[in-house]
Amino acid sequence: MEREFIITIFSENKVGILSQVTTVFTHRNVNIESIAASPSAIEGIHKYTIAVKNDPERVANLVKQIEKKVDVLKVFCYSPSEVVMQQLALYKVKRSRNVEELVRRHNVRILEIHDEYIVLEKTGHKAELDELYQILAPYGIYQFVSSGQVAIIKSRRELLDEYLKYVNEKRDRILSETK
């Protein structure tokens, strides 16, 4: 049974990690729905947020294969209900009075107004962005682009911090043994 998952990957900030990660998806034949990369809250650690739709066992295996990559620190996998998710989309639409009315009704920001077209921005869940696309389509969409989904977990525990604490203790143990 296919389900939606948000995979967050924390890695060292090093050239080529994205390619290491995407290799795993190709090898295990899992399609990436969306991807976003950015620095994390911890200096030197990068964060990738990848949305997939697949069956849970396959995703569980995929997560372990990603975590196996030497430069990857830790991988977490969430169902959508465990995270706050947002995605941003831009729509370049033919200018008309109807469009301007829609803008007011759908809580959409206007980024640029031109004689011919208008550029709109909407942030929200993927379904909301898709819905707006369907509404705007009859009026003529010149261009459309959306970002990858970004997500933050709702839990109060900071799992990455806990993991770093664990590995730091391990490092100290190894250090004291080699002294």
Binding site: S11, E12, N13, K14, G16, S19, Q20, T23, T26, H27, G44, E57, A60, N61, K64, Q65, E67, K68, V70, D71, V72, L73, L164, V167, N168, K170, R171, I174, L175, T178, K179
Partner: protein
């Protein structure tokens, strides 16, 4: 490159550091890691490293192969007999791409390899320069780790990382791609072996709850079977395995790569698992109530249809690599961690037990197999020599030899009929099934264990895939005993065509060269045997001849390997004919 990592190295007192080239830093890093032997092939972008090596010829033994793929395979043979990391040096571009098959083989069979590849100067990177290829990208999916080094001062730390990653946890191949300007640049040399990388935790903490649960299941089980994989050998846990088996009384079967972890004549050893494994451990898979997988990964050649594997059994999986847990077969009790530690924790807590009645059931199967398959296969009868009798005769003449095989029918005959006395005595390509692996791997094995006999079984197809290495054997005087099973066919594929494709032998027949001339051209001793009555004498001649020997055995053209589990079928559907 060190700046981004929080690696920990053994602390060194401050001292005046020598200033040397990056190339010399490569060589001195090898020496600091205890490297004695390197397999390689020079070329434009790696000349500086070879130039540095010239001054260290008395301390490093460099074996010049004839093709870079064989540098890796030879290093694999070396690594698997010695337990050390195999080391290779190749040039950029074609030198590098030629190693890809070897790297893939080492990754699937968990063999520690460090490959140094030359690269064009950093100013030329990305310009499609002569012999430039993006080797980091190419090797992403066939290495455990790789990195590119563009500055001389980063070389020692990169090599320290490479050795640590290759040999720790589940071993594997790593690549360090070094640009020519980094090889030529000057650096202070200070080598610190690495002990810790924060993003890489090779040994999971063993969970005591899982140990207790495993103990509980083992004590309850009436029909348990241990499945022994190469993990036992890689962890140097042969003694721990023996203690576990002898206290628990549990019968043990081996995967292809796990062979020799347990001596062939151990009273609880019941044979090899898998598609062409022994009858007992396959057919009894259905009757087992507990499977204890020790350092193995449920390859499809072992499990057949995984949904029917151990269908009546609970599964305990002792494994070092978290990604192998539940990958193919669901583990009721996963025991993550180093089996050298986890296995004794289990042994200590289980009750002393005896499963001799259950083991007798395997003996009954073994007798059926002996009467129906093995005895006829090794019997000296029929018009032609057969592979089984050749393996049996070689195994009897060469007591305690290292077995190296190529891939195909001879691999299956050799691995089943060869007798093992001690660990690290089989070198074969299991995961990737690389034809052409045998000859170079045998070279590496002999160099790694010069005091032992190395017997290579290879088919006429496989030998011709890497036969240029006969030149390496002569140049480096490597005393490998090559037993060529010549049936004029790609025998395993022909067998499948016979059984499953209506005998349509599509492009499996080989018109071969004169192997005597091939041996002579490479100045290697040779003999051909065609008749049963000449076999023993020919093998004795091979044994008593100093140095390398090619024994061509003209065997039955259309012999099949049995037993056999048809692809995708449950293993208990094993066929005796």
């Amino acid at each position: 490159m060190n700046s981004g990592f929080s690696d920990i190295t053994a602390a060194q007192p401050a001292k005046e550091l020598p200033r040397i080239t990056g190339s010399e830093a490569v060589i001195r890093s090898f020496i600091a890691e205890g490297v004695e032997t390197i397999f390689g092939y020079p070329g434009g972008a790696i000349i500086p490293v070879y130039n540095a090596l010239y001054d260290y010829r008395d301390r490093l033994n460099h074996i010049l192969v004839r093709h870079e793929q064989c540098a890796i395979h030879a290093a694999q043979g070396y690594a698997r007999v010695t337990g050390k990391t195999g080391v290779c040096i190749v040039t950029s571009g074609p030198g590098a791409t030629n190693t890809v098959t070897g790297l893939a083989d080492a990754l699937l069979d968990s063999t520690p390899i460090v490959l140094i590849s030359g690269q064009v100067a950093s100013s030329q990177l990305g310009t499609d320069a002569f012999q430039e290829i993006n080797f980091i990208e190419i090797t992403q999916s066939v290495t455990k780790w790789n990195c590119q080094v563009k500055r001389a001062e980063d070389i020692p730390a990169a090599i320290a990382r490479a050795f640590y990653i290759a040999s720790s946890g589940r071993p594997g191949p790593v690549v360090v791609d070094i640009t020519k300007d980094a090889q030529n640049g000057l650096t202070n040399f200070d080598y610190n072996p690495i002990k810790f990388i924060r993003s890489y935790q090779p040994y999971a903490d063993i969970c005591s709850d899982q140990i207790l649960e495993a103990v509980r299941l083992i004590n309850l089980s009436r029909k348990p079977m241990a499945l022994v994989g190469q993990g036992v050998i890689l962890a140097n846990a042969e003694q721990e395995l023996k203690e576990f088996l002898e206290k628990s009384g549990i019968p043990a079967a081996s995967t292809l790569l796990g062979l020799s972890a347990l001596p062939s004549d151990h009273p609880q050893y019941v044979g090899m698992l898998g598609m062409h494994g022994n009858y007992g451990p396959n057919i009894k898979n259905r009757d087992c109530d507990l499977l204890i997988a020790i350092g193995m990964r449920f390859d499809d050649r072992v499990t057949g249809d995984p949904s029917k594997f151990g269908i009546n059994a609970k599964i305990i999986h002792l494994e070092i690599d978290p990604a192998e847990i539940n990958k193919i077969v669901y583990a009721d009790v996963p025991v993550l961690g180093n089996i050298k530690e986890s296995l004794p924790m289990i042994t200590e807590r289980i009750s002393q037990n005896d499963h001799s009645e259950w083991i007798d059931e395997f003996r009954v199967c073994a007798n059926i197999e002996r009467e129906d398959i093995i005895d006829p296969a090794i019997e000296r009868r029929g018009a032609h020599l057969r592979m089984g009798e050749v393996v049996d005769a070689v195994s009897k003449e060469f007591d305690d030899a290292i077995l190296v095989t190529d891939v195909g029918q001879q691999q299956m005959f050799a691995s089943k009929y060869f007798k093992f006395k001690r660990s690290r005595s089989i070198i074969t390509s299991g995961g990737l099934g690389t034809m052409g692996f045998g000859l170079p791997a045998a070279i590496g094995a002999k160099i790694g264990a010069p005091e032992r006999d190395v017997c290579l079984f290879v088919g006429d197809g496989g030998l011709q895939m890497t036969s240029q290495e006969l030149g390496t054997i002569y140049q480096s005087q490597v005393g490998v005993k090559i037993i060529l099973m010549n049936n004029g066919y790609l025998g395993m594929v022909r067998q499948w065509q016979e059984l499953f494709y209506d005998k349509r032998y599509s492009f499996t027949e080989l018109v071969n060269p004169d192997f005597e001339l091939l041996a002579k051209a490479n100045r290697i001793a040779y003999r051909c045997v065609e008749r049963h009555e000449d076999l023993d004498d020919a093998i004795r001649e091979m044994h008593s001849t100093e140095g390398a020997f090619l024994l061509e055995c003209r065997v039955e053209k259309e012999e099949n390997v049995f037993p056999m589990v048809p692809a995708g079928a449950p293993v208990h559907d094993i066929r005796l004919e």
